[in-house]
Amino acid sequence: MVGLGIVEYLKKERSQEWRVELRSNLKAKERTQLERGHMPEQDPDQRNKNFTEVNLGLTEEQAIHEAKRCIDCPNPTCITGCPVGINIPKFVKKIEAGEFLDAARVLKETNALPAVCGRVCPQEVQCEQVCYYPQKVDKPAVSIGHLERFAADFERDSGKVSVPEITAFNGIKVASIGSGPAGLAFAGDMAKMGYDVTVYEALHEIGGVLKYGIPEFRLPNEMVDVEIDILKKMGVKFITNFIVGKTASVEELMKEGYVAFMVGSGAGLPNFMNIPGENLTGIYSSNEYLTRVNLMKAADPEYDTPVMSGKNVAVIGGGNTAMDSVRTAKRLGAERAMIIYRRSIEEMPARNEEIIHAQEEGIEFMNLHNPIEYMGDEKGRVKQMKLLKMELGEPDDSGRRRPVPLEGSEFVIDVDTVVVSVGVSPNPLIPQSMSELDVSSLGTINVDKETMQSSIPDIFAGGDIVRGGATVILAMGDGRKAAASMDRYIKQKVRNIISLIKEFDTIGDILDFAG
């Protein structure tokens, strides 16, 4: 890509012989006649009792069929919808050509975690939303996400996992604070550019939200480990059980030779609703509930961590995390696993796929309801909750219609476990440890949106610690952006030092100056 603008680069790639030939094999019109394929899934009544993946992945034939639907547009708008800028038509056409390993390589040019993104990205509001099909011919988009997952899984299963090429190792030490999606994307790009990268992680496992947050049935931890192993092969070092700002400060780490940092410490603090009875036992934040099950494997009696998961489980909220929690509760044996959401299903922030999967699995949706109080038994365990019915009023700041309580509509239902999934706030540990860092009133780190650089020039930041609560792929996009601008920043710093040195006549003068 060096020396070429992105548009010229894509044009040049598109005019390569193999791409031209593929296009000539099947007319665009014939391609648009092909129906979008379905992702094979585990049967709902079976999968709601186990933790293995819901989506089973495309077969080779299904993948090639889907890849054929892509007409290889001269102006591939899909790429503009990708926060990490994957060369989408190129990898899709590699699949059509049956060159699955090459397809995986294309993905890894810009995406450190293709098997993860192929599973958890909301493609329907990104690449697939701006695909030719929905934009121009009102048909369902090419299932780019399914194809991404296919290529990544094929490569892993082939045992021929490629390790991205690393330009000359420069030995300059940089660190990521946090090993979630922002940190991993950052580490991958910095390692490719030759930096000596260390990733610090507070927990005992690498992967951040990918490990503690997203359940096995959506993203097996093993998939995350495969992608982390590639980063390790690229020379990235991982240090777990290390909280930067607590175990050692940024200043101390600078003395160990690090020249710049990327903070990707995530949105750690769960929000509660501050209603009566919320501290009864059996009431969890979604972070705690999911961490116990996903990271600590509480459902497995061989592991020491317990989890309370009863017969009547209410999950408060309508986001992806709420869906993950309620589907987890069902799998842990809940007879009633309920979503309690104060707006209607149209306003739900969760991905459509997650909502549909949850409905298929027998999750009850109590939309337009809001909890106002919890009642406990003599031991302090929650046994009932009081709900208020809501109706939708005028749109609020978010553009969604505001839920308004219906007077006198309270009623009580039995619950023995509640999971509160009403958002998170940024983790305070890093901002607390760096007093000079410019932080917003919400606790997020303020950065230059273009460079991801914070008020301290050597500190960059991305992901939920900047955004407050977003998606895996946006965090990864931030990590990549931070890597690119940190590289420019460090190189400029080096140039400044060199030009400063040039102003001296002798080495003796330099040493005198340095004192």
Binding site: H204, N241, T281, M296, T305, P306, L429
Partner: protein
């Protein structure tokens, strides 16, 4: 992995472990705690740092056998590794010269109390310590506490050592004869509750260091939440020390008992396995 380099039994139930943790040894201050996980299937449990040796790069933790994880931890020997140790966590104790400090520690709560007592003493305060336990062999770290205290009073429930009686009785005797500027207390929740009631009666500012259930210990999960002054606080990132008069100890005790059933089932499984082995 953190290697255990020294181990000492204070009693059948209470063990002192010294482990390698050079970064934590350097960064820790009085009041800090660590999260420990024994084995790759272990749970994450918070433990307060009792002592640290900067030169050797070690920290000391004191563990009481109460459940499966603490028994597993106590069963580790010198040379064994603890799978995960992370910290130091929480806010350190706010130490300044105030005058006379009354330090009240119960059971293994004396372990986290030790660095606090030491820090108050080093800041130029007069420190009177009251240590309490059910019986003699559960009184720990007496010698070390004496090193940093102007006076030490020992209370045991059964009178097997020191004076017979509750910690509050020992404290009240001091409060009646001395002008106390601050009270600091660490121990079982029920003990701290009664300490708080006593000192409230005498209008003495009191700080309690809370030890709740935690998972990550970094603010992420909210398992450790307690009500302080009617507001929900997270012990891991807002504490572990709070104004004892504002803490809802009854709620804290209720939350500490969350997993009583699960814990006793796990304990039975563990003991059965242990017997078979």
């Amino acid at each position: 992995m953190n290697k255990i380099i020294d181990k000492e039994y204070f009693s059948d139930l209470v063990v002192k472990l010294v482990l390698e943790a050079p970064y934590i040894a350097k960064s820790r201050k009085a009041g800090h705690f660590v999260i420990v996980r024994v084995g790759e299937r272990g749970e994450r449990i918070p433990l307060t740092i009792a002592e640290a040796d900067l030169e050797k790069g070690t920290i000391t933790i004191i563990v009481q056998k109460v459940g499966v994880s603490s028994i597993k931890l106590c069963n580790l020997e010198v040379g064994d590794n603890i799978h995960d140790v992370v910290g130091p966590l929480g806010h350190p104790t706010h130490i300044e010269k105030l005058g006379t400090i009354l330090a009240a520690g119960g059971g293994v709560g004396v372990a986290p109390l030790l660095p606090i007592v030491e820090a108050y003493k080093n800041a130029g305060n007069k420190v009177i310590s009251v240590l309490a336990a059910r019986q003699k062999d559960l009184i720990i770290l007496e010698e070390q506490i004496r090193l940093h205290s102007d006076e030490v009073i020992i209370m045991t429930d059964d009178g097997s050592y020191g004076k017979k009686g509750l910690i509050t009785e020992g404290m009240e005797e001091v409060i009646k004869r001395e002008k106390i500027d601050e009270v600091v207390t660490v121990g079982p929740a029920i003990m701290m509750k009664y300490v708080a009631l006593l000192t409230k009666k005498y209008k003495l500012p009191t700080v309690a260091s809370l030890n709740t259930i935690m998972v990550d210990g970094t603010g992420m999960c909210g398992a450790c939440r307690v009500s302080v002054g009617g507001k929900t606080k997270f012990v891991c990132v807002d504490g572990p020390e709070f104004d004892a008069h504002e803490v809802d100890f009854d709620e804290m005790m209720m939350r500490l008992a969350s997993y009583t059933d699960e814990e006793s089932a796990a304990y039975d499984r563990f003991i059965n396995k242990y017997k078979k082995a």
